[in-house]
Subunit: 502 residues, 2 copies
């Protein structure tokens, strides 16, 4: 056997990884179709088809031959830095995957299936007790998973790392301490002020006109319609089959103007990230997103720091008024701006404003961490939940559906995922301040509906790097310092000072 | 090693086949998306994703272990007749696949790719000479393929059997002799008569109203919209991911009413067949269509024997007139019926009426057969083509694009496919006569827009059998005799007697 050159070795690695990526992206197409176009009766076979492809992709990724190739590649000193990083990250992914015993994978897969169906059933009955025993089993498996993966400090770190490499409970505890000490008083001040009016956002907004407005905004942001498309689905999402085919979905509520608009901008932010990933690294780690938190930072930056800002609407509001004169002709820009930034503690995370959102996330984080280290048990978890909501959001949870059963994540076994939502907002605030420092006249550009330099900056600083940097590394590289809560706090303080006079 | 029971063996055969079917159906989803929704820039990676899945499906189907399983299963005497037929057909497919040397498969794949691009280039330049050298290479490979597959009689039989098992040149020569001796004089008589008017079919027909009318007809036929959907594509097609998700596409020309309507009915016929295949045989031969000719018989039966018949429009014409009063209120049902059945020799197969269509197919058949046995060479094939068109269709071919370059099939290496188009029409005519004999009052039902008994008959007699019978066997079983040209001739003679008074 002749020794392969590093170039040859890298080429066969790339071929194998891209083959796996092709299968995974085919699964994504099947999933997209499932949410947007699938006829009712097609669901059963579609599930089976997705399972078959998932199994195939998994089998290809755990092949011993791939492991040998990756080990071999890892010893090569003559790869360029991108190739070297790709090889290292793939080896890391491979070895992590290999840690899972087949028995455990099967058990987790069954439990996830069972848990999902129990959650559906519990939602229908509005009764947490139906969900509790299977959730308990899931928590046990998640504890085992933490042990399988290994961790420093808190077992939660093992799970968190699946979504946000490098993050840990020490970092999150600091962040959520800031949420409590700094955001809670701000929220209290706001609650003491007269509420802003947003009734006019709930007049009748024609479906087609909303759709056209959403497309207009997506295009203005720089979303490439020749490398993507928007469709309707029950829950908005972004899916990518490669950087040249990144699709978004939205939903339209004719009695809630905000529902579609910020979902378009939010998903548009995710999609811009995916369209900006380096296409020559298709199927390789450096062609993937850095982390869930960084992904969320891109959607949140566009949704909130841009899309709920006054400069943004200084440009777009006239067009919106022209589209819906019957609803908006007598609403001033300032009143519109206040309405879309209303702060109001509520029960449901996905409907929360950007301030109270962090409390929703914090509560889930505390509960997850407590479940893993034994502070909490699944028994009476609904009451734990309700207590948290009273304490931090000052609301009474009337039933389980509006409480502990509201999110799908735990039924999927996704523990450690929630914190990335808060991290996303915090990264967004910090990135957006850095962008303002580094792009002269950025806010001025936004008031003109011109996002070219912002997008170009995001591309250069964030998108083009793929998974090369961890979220921590990326944050330091882009902003010169680690993630800091103060940027979000400054942003929120300034915004709500204007809106609520606090 | 313990000997597996036949039941266990059959179960593992079924699992393997369904896994392969899942991949093939995923490819079909990717293909459907490509033709209906894919953003422009997504094409390159989509091609790669489809290639990866195709390779995987192929590799799984040629695995030696599958061969051993099929051989083993073939020896079992205790399988039920469906299981036994499935095993036998899968073994047949497997062994046919295994005949191809890897070198030949690669060569054919490259040649097909080259040939397709040369065809595109030749079409752009409207110049057959550009296509000729690669077509010559393709013909050589097709001769080799015939030898690889083996045949009795004419080498063309080997290729034909890929699409229509059991068909051969002897059978086709007889059919096309009938076309020449019986249809040619009928065509001549028609050409001597005054032409019917169809100008009103080319007035402006609103896109949305056409779409709604098409959906209405599909539903009336019994196409299950909960197990399928219709979308727009450049070329209409039917694709199935399983009997519970069978999709059709159409195109709309606002200046040609016929363009969409009969494409809906045609694809609807294909789709009814696919929706009627036995779902419990998913992934197995008895869950597949019998042959291309039988598939085409289902589309043609609905398109022509039903959808271009007077009884059909006795019911639907009023609704059509109501939708397009400005175009049709002064057009009598009889004039409409004549218009949609106009016979007029023309250059392009896909636009041909149902009488001259057979000459288009016959010409391609004669040329393909001649290329394979050396009667013709690819050199000057455009002139051979043009001579045939003058002789049988009395038209002068003005250029290569309207002649020898018009169809995509040869560029795909599909030799032996064309005859199935004529076979489809002939089977349709024979099946429809049988249906009339076996369903009392069928025509009466059609005049009431009631197709339930017809569909139920097609389901029982044809759809539910899948690939259990060959097309010949099925024809004898359903109609009591082998395929006979006289049914189509009787049908055409009667129809055109009414329309052209011949």
């Amino acid at each position: 056997m002749t020794t392969q050159s590093s170039g040859e070795l890298y080429a066969s690695y790339k071929t194998k990884m891209q083959q796996i990526a092709d299968i995974r992206n085919a699964i994504a197409v099947l999933g997209w179709d499932q949410e947007t176009h699938l006829p009712e009766k097609g669901a059963a076979f579609r599930g089976q088809q997705i399972t078959t492809l998932s199994t195939l992709a998994h089998e290809l990724f755990v092949e011993d031959k791939l492991g040998e190739l990756l080990q071999n590649l890892h010893t090569r000193q003559d790869l360029d830095i991108i190739a070297s990083k790709n090889a290292a990250l793939s080896l890391e992914d491979y070895e992590k995957n290999k840690k899972y015993p087949a028995r455990f994978v099967a058990e987790l897969s069954n439990a996830t299936n069972e848990c999902y169906h129990a959650w559906i059933k519990a939602r229908k009955a509005n009764d947490y007790k139906i969900f509790e025993p299977v959730l308990a089993k899931m928590v046990e498996l998640k504890k085992q998973e933490a042990d399988i993966l290994g961790y420093n400090g808190h077992p939660y770190n093992a799970l968190l790392n699946e979504y946000e490499k490098g993050a840990n409970t020490a970092m999150l505890d600091t962040i959520f301490a800031d949420v409590k000490t700094a955001l809670a008083p701000l929220l209290q001040q706001i609650e003491a002020k007269p509420q802003v009016n947003k009734d006019f956002l709930h007049l009748h907004y024609d479906r087609n006109k909303q759709w056209e407005f959403g497309i207009e905004i997506l295009k203005a942001m720089g979303y490439d319609m020749n490398a993507g498309r928007q469709d309707i689905s029950e829950h908005p999402f972004t899916t990518s089959f490669n950087p040249q085919d990144v699709r978004v979905t939205t939903r339209i509520d004719e009695n809630d103007f905000g529902n579609m608009t910020w979902s378009c901008i939010h998903e548009g932010g995710h999609a811009l990230y995916e369209q900006g990933l380096p296409v020559d690294n298709y199927g390789l780690p450096c062609g993937e997103a850095a982390s869930l938190g960084i992904h969320e930072s891109q959607s949140r930056l566009w949704e909130n720091n841009v899309g709920r800002s006054l400069p943004f609407w200084q440009y777009h509001y006239a067009a919106l008024q022209a589209r819906f004169p019957e609803n908006l002709q007598h609403v001033s820009l300032d009143d519109f701006y206040k309405a879309i930034n209303q702060v109001k503690p509520s029960l449901i995370r996905t409907e929360a404003d950007e301030l109270t959102y962090h409390f929703h996330v914090m509560i889930r984080y505390e509960i997850e961490k407590g479940l893993l280290d034994g502070t909490y048990s699944t028994k009476d978890l609904n009451e734990v939940w309700n207590k948290y909501y009273r304490e931090y959001l000052h609301v009474d949870v009337p039933d389980d559906n509006q409480g502990v059963l509201q999110d799908i994540h735990w039924s999927h076994g996704s523990f450690g995922y929630f914190p990335t939502y808060s991290l996303g907002s915090l990264y967004a605030a910090q990135f957006f301040i850095a962008a303002q420092k580094q792009i002269p006249g950025l806010i001025e550009q936004i008031t003109k509906g011109d996002y070219k330099q912002l997008l170009s900056w995001l591309r250069d600083e964030i998108h083009h790097h793929g998974r090369y940097y961890t979220s921590n590394e990326l944050c330091e590289k882009v902003t010169g310092e680690p993630l800091a809560f103060k940027y979000f706090l400054d942003y929120a303080t300034e915004k709500y000072h204007h809106i609520y006079n606090v």
